[in-house]
Symmetry: C2
Subunit: 342 residues, 2 copies
DNA sequence: ATTGCCACTGTAATCGATTACATCTATGGT
DNA sequence: ACCATAGATGTAATCGATTACAGTGGCAAT
């Protein structure tokens, strides 16, 4: 035994009086070695303080035991909770989670694609639906091809498995809720125009509106970027309009909070002067003043489901449905930021 | 060239008409090969679509090109922004970020220590000061020893380098602010009792209070857990007291928001009936109603600094000061949740 | 011409674990 | 008694890149 460096499999083999092959087997396929031998190996491993060298194992096994998670914006609390679901599930199966903030990395394209390459990770979970087509092509094409699943968002082409929520239904729920309260003039606040969620939630909202016979005006569709700040900007726009919607459906909670905050700063109150409903049900929503009415989605489950989809696909790469979408339910949380029109 | 599998360094060597050694050198130490050769190799690498195999490199070089970040709670927006700073800095130096949620993992001790072991990562950044002593011992002791730096929080023993903020000063700033507004009866809301930040901010606050000649009562020191919910619980306690403080200094923003929210739900207003000041300046603080007065700390910089401390220590493991602490400044952000006593 | 040095490139050992294949032993069937 | 078979273990090739060491050729100094 060598005290200056970490023990290797050979040291364990010597200590246990067996070959390295046996040690390896005892450790990773216990059922294939005799019980007596197995115990001797296990004892020796404990005694020497042996820890596996992942680089060596990975090289030999041709896999990494880690997956990368693409996050559009790490600072956003919405994502970090999905991340928590992903991390805990993956940790349970002994896998590592490599994080990449796609906003930061887009500039550094070279490094970025490097991450996604085989030898860094066995697969990808993307919370970002706006990956460039180049990148998607690369991930699909022959040698570079990698298992990838989306969570929450999904790629425009929608050719990859994903865990998501019924966004159209969520939007319809929101609109219905406002309609029931008597609102007929309802605006929509979206995120970046390219974003799938912006689009799908807009569609859901517009469908519901036309079904209910409400008019929709082009300039009642506001454009934000999912940030608090952009919500505040939307509020400014709203304030400067002559004919205004009496209610606003925001594509996420943060923008909704931004709207409410800015309105308040200008002497108006929610829901008295404007009803506001959000989407996501982030933690702070229920503690905000007024508590935010919103559409909740099960963030933890989204993360967990995405991991399971990916693991499934890693195990039997052959017979996995390539277009599997798991759609989780959505729920209206009725709080105090919406009220009957008077 | 083999179309069915990813190209290896040998394929590039053949394509460029040189040896694998030269390819390796051209790629990782360009200055050591002749320009002509280098270009040939680079072209060949491009042509074959070569990507390095990290497992092989890691095995040979005996390092992993990744570091692990220990996060107490991924769901907490405060941490995720520090994480963003860490990720972007590390990505720039081509390193990967392995994330571990310590709350989830503590149960699974075995997996947990496995992560921290050499062959998974070259070093550790911990945002969690409450690592068990066992673990700390293990990380310090001979063969297992790993470079580790703390960010924000730090270990009780304080024997590792860290990037942090002047918490005592932050607390004093908060207390001074309340004092200036006329408050003499000031309470403190801390996080979990074992947490360093809870303790140091309490000390800072208590020192400031006694210096200013304010009385401190045991039961004016409330115990939360940094969550919104715990803030709401503290508000309940406050409501049920006969003699109450007129102002509350909360050890983080979320608890402050929880307090304000719960008070409001009970018909009381901040700052009219109680002044509340927080700590951290999370994004939502300035949009809350009322906008939260708080002590801001530079989260992104904390992350960046921690990475730099770690990288420094990875490069010259010998002559690095083992107890280096970088202390960043803190700032009072005066908004609307505190007001003069009337 | 000889020597020494420098710049460059190639050969082959190496990192540590896994696993295909070979070997050996014991067991049961005939 | 003999063979087939299964179970247990050992031997050695293997994963792919890096790098110590050993050339090789060219040029300048002597």
């Amino acid at each position: 035994m060598n005290t200056t460096s970490t023990p290797k499999i050979k040291d364990v083999a010597i200590a246990a009086g067996v070959s390295t092959a046996t040690v390896s087997r005892a450790l990773s396929k216990p059922e294939t070695v005799a019980e007596e031998t197995r115990n001797a190996v296990l004892d020796a491993a404990r005694a020497t303080g042996y820890r596996i060298n992942h680089a060596a194992r990975n090289l030999r096994r041709q896999k990494t035991g880690a997956i990368v998670v693409l996050v559009p914006n790490l600072g956003n609390p919405f994502f970090s909770e999905i991340l928590a679901g992903i991390e805990s599930t993956l940790a349970n199966s002994g896998m590592g989670v490599l994080m990449v903030d796609t906003q930061q990395s887009q500039g550094n394209k070279h490094l970025f694609t490097d991450y996604l390459h085989h030898s860094r990770a066995d697969g990808i979970i993307s919370l970002d639906g706006s990956l460039s087509n180049d990148l998607i092509d690369e991930l699909q094409s022959g040698a570079e091809s990698q298992p990838i699943v989306f969570a929450c968002e999904w790629h425009h082409s929608d050719i990859f498995p994903s865990a998501r929520v019924n966004n159209r239904r969520g939007a319809a729920l929101a609109i219905d809720h406002l309609y029931q309260l008597g609102h007929r003039d309802i605006g929509y606040v979206g995120g970046p125009p390219g974003n799938v969620l912006t689009q799908v939630r807009a569609e859901g909202a517009m469908n519901a509106l036309t079904e209910l016979g409400c008019k929709t005006y082009e300039n009642w569709s506001f454009q934000g970027d999912f940030s608090l700040q952009s919500g505040a900007k939307v509020a400014q726009e709203w304030l400067s309009m002559k004919t205004r919607p009496t209610a606003l459906f925001c594509a996420n909670d943060e923008m909704a909070l931004g709207v409410i905050s800015e309105l308040h700063a200008n002497g108006l109150e929610v829901p008295k002067h404007l009803s506001v409903i959000g989407f996501d049900d982030i933690d702070v929503a229920q503690y905000f003043l007024p508590p935010l009415t919103t559409i909740s989605q099960p963030r933890l489950e989204l993360g967990i489901t995405a991991v399971n989809l990916l693991l499934e696909r890693l195990q039997n790469s052959a017979n996995a449905d390539p277009h599997e979408h798991t759609v989780l339910p959505v729920k209206l949380i009725n709080r105090k930021s919406t009220a009957a029109l008077c």
